[in-house]
Subunit: 385 residues, 2 copies
């Protein structure tokens, strides 16, 4: 096990009918800006519940935070924060809204051009507004971590950043809030949580036994619940498991003391920035091919993954690894999520475009061994054609 | 899954050579009281490392906190805190020292008779001194939770308490600090972590899939590392797994959203208070018999436990449950920890004495169904003769 530091101060309030607890979670004297995405927050009644729970507090609202939240949009929220003397942010939505709120929290108190926050990976964050979240879409884990991703539309640049100052103070997780989600978003959430887990697990062994078991437990859970999560939108127990599993997949716990990969994410981000493919869908495009190209350096963990998550025990090592990768690909496809670029009418030209972006963004030594250079990224992308 | 709240703000600093990081973890201006147990903290050099890391800070020391820390001893520490105007506590030791430090942290700022803190279960804690810990004995999980147990020697009363104000600000976990532990204490730690996990897992199913997988992962890890943990004191990787697993067993995570038992602990506490048997050893005395007596209400989970932790898949339900309990008992005995009262020369008179104490302390409806009354506690204790 590697040395590590683990610190996660976010309070999770989980369960049915928990939105009303905002009345005790948000400071009494706060001047609140509610940030949300599209019309669904209003239509489903969640915004009304939030407003009621906030009671007599001064509150303003900022809607229209898009998937893959953009710097351009978020800077308008920053202006509103300053104009209305807001001192507490409340994100109501999924990972994009929470990520965007993290950017606003830091940008509102930033001296200088706020895009520097993203360019510095968050290192330049010195202060941030306090904020909480009401999660409506289980997927990214942003509700219980200090990271975020923002996109500069003008330059097609999607950058991650993080800071110890950017943990939500609290996140309210009511699984019933997911009942109205489109099936496609639930499928995306399953893949997102799955790949978050894989990025922190499927590297090389460092005798971190509990971390491995936890990661395998999350993967097993996602595989177990997936059919019902898609088929029965209002099955509370299934949605509760999806929601908590997605949070646990990226709250720092399973990644503590172990090597991490994240190459799938970095390559995927470029696909989103260039072609506007949903984040989770880019992960499904990249991961199976990446596992295949990296099968030697991931050998031991691929065998362990195959056995413990998929029950693959027969055959030679290479056959078992083939089977593990095939099961992964079939899992994504079974959720209705393609694993080939051709499904998006993308071909060799997309490979070249992604490689150019990776080079432009300095993404030339990715993965747990930093051995995914542009040549290897090319092999991965071509294997996904 | 049940509704839950999860909040654990303790920062964990884990790994080799981490004690030196106290220099950044303890506030520069703090007036520190270092609390520790016996002579080993000095002999092993840990105290010297701590003193060096604290550098020029004002610091005092309070040694002699005993296993099952007593109100009587701890009140002397409270006096020292007041006399020396201490504003930060640093526990150096195992669960007893950290539990004791929690009591001191609350008692030092308490208006009234501090034993009320324990009597109220912690509800009366309104303020507490900030504190951190350097863990030297993996077992209780106190390093990452807000609970503690103290004993009033004069009345043979051992009481648990907890408060949101009693999380350590940080805990430093260096697995190498366990190399010098007596084998008996390592065995105790394995059992303690195992039973902590079982108390939060082996109840009845509530479709909390990730929590179940995590609990099973901790149990599997403990079973896997136990032989090497006992046989090779300086095997860093094994001790690292023991240390992190014991912390995860009681930091609130696996217990979030699930029913919990804790009857084994409550009965065990009385055995410690009456006969001074090590805490973990009382758990090994009670648990196998309790599982047998409660086999009907724990039916589904006992089968799941048998299959997932011990690989028991053959036989009738009752045979598989018998086998799961037998494996549990054999695991403890294999660590050199008895599971029968007779091993301590205790017989029927001890059963009567424990029952009298349970009655005196209002422990007459224990377990996840509150159905362990005195008659059932009698059956459990008699099954452990």
């Amino acid at each position: 096990m590697k040395n590590f530091e683990f610190h996660n101060p976010t309070k999770i309030v989980f369960g049915a009918e928990t939105v009303a607890q905002l009345s005790r979670l948000v400071p009494e004297s706060a001047r609140v800006l509610i940030l949300y995405g599209g019309a669904s927050a209003e239509k489903t009644g969640t915004l009304a519940e939030v407003r009621q729970a906030l009671g007599a507090r001064v509150s303003r609202e900022f809607g229209g935070i898009e998937p893959n939240p953009s710097y351009e949009t978020l800077m308008r929220a920053v202006e509103q924060v300053r104009r209305d003397e807001i001192d507490f942010l409340l994100a109501v939505g999924g990972g994009s809204v929470i990520d965007g709120t993290k950017f606003v929290a830091a940008a509102a108190l930033y001296d200088g051009e706020p895009w520097e926050i993203a360019l510095s990976g968050g290192a330049k964050v010195r202060r941030a507004l306090p904020f909480g979240a009401v999660l409506t879409l289980p997927a990214t884990g942003s509700e219980m971590n200090n990271g975020a991703v923002v996109t500069h539309k003008a330059t097609h640049t999607k950058l991650p950043f993080r800071s110890p100052l950017l943990f939500p103070q609290f996140s309210v997780l009511d699984p019933a809030k997911t009942f109205t989600l489109p099936t496609k978003q639930v499928a995306n959430g399953l893949v997102d949580a799955f790949v978050h887990t894989v990025e922190q697990y499927l590297t090389y062994p460092v005798q971190a036994l509990a971390q491995d078991r936890f990661a395998e437990g999350l993967l097993q859970t996602l595989v177990e619940i997936a059919p019902q999560a898609l088929a029965a939108p209002d099955d509370y127990a299934t949605r509760a498991n999806l929601m908590w599993t997605a949070t646990l997949a990226l709250n720092g716990l399973i990644g503590a003391g172990v090597p991490q990969d994240w190459a799938t994410h970095m390559i995927g981000h470029e696909l989103t920035a260039l072609y506007d493919i949903d984040h989770a869908r880019t992960l499904a495009l990249v991961l199976p091919s990446l596992l295949d190209v990296q099968r030697d350096s991931k050998h031991a963990k691929l065998l362990q993954y195959g056995e413990r998550v998929w029950g693959i025990r027969d055959g030679s090592d290479e056959q078992r690894i083939d089977a593990a990768i095939a099961r992964t690909r079939a899992f994504f496809e079974g959720l209705g999520i393609p694993t080939r670029l051709s499904a998006y009418q993308l071909g060799q030209e997309a490979v070249e475009a992604v490689l150019a972006q990776l080079q432009a963004h300095g993404m030339t030594s990715l993965g747990e061994h930093r051995d995914i250079d542009l040549a290897r990224s090319r092999r991965i992308l071509e294997a996904a054609l």
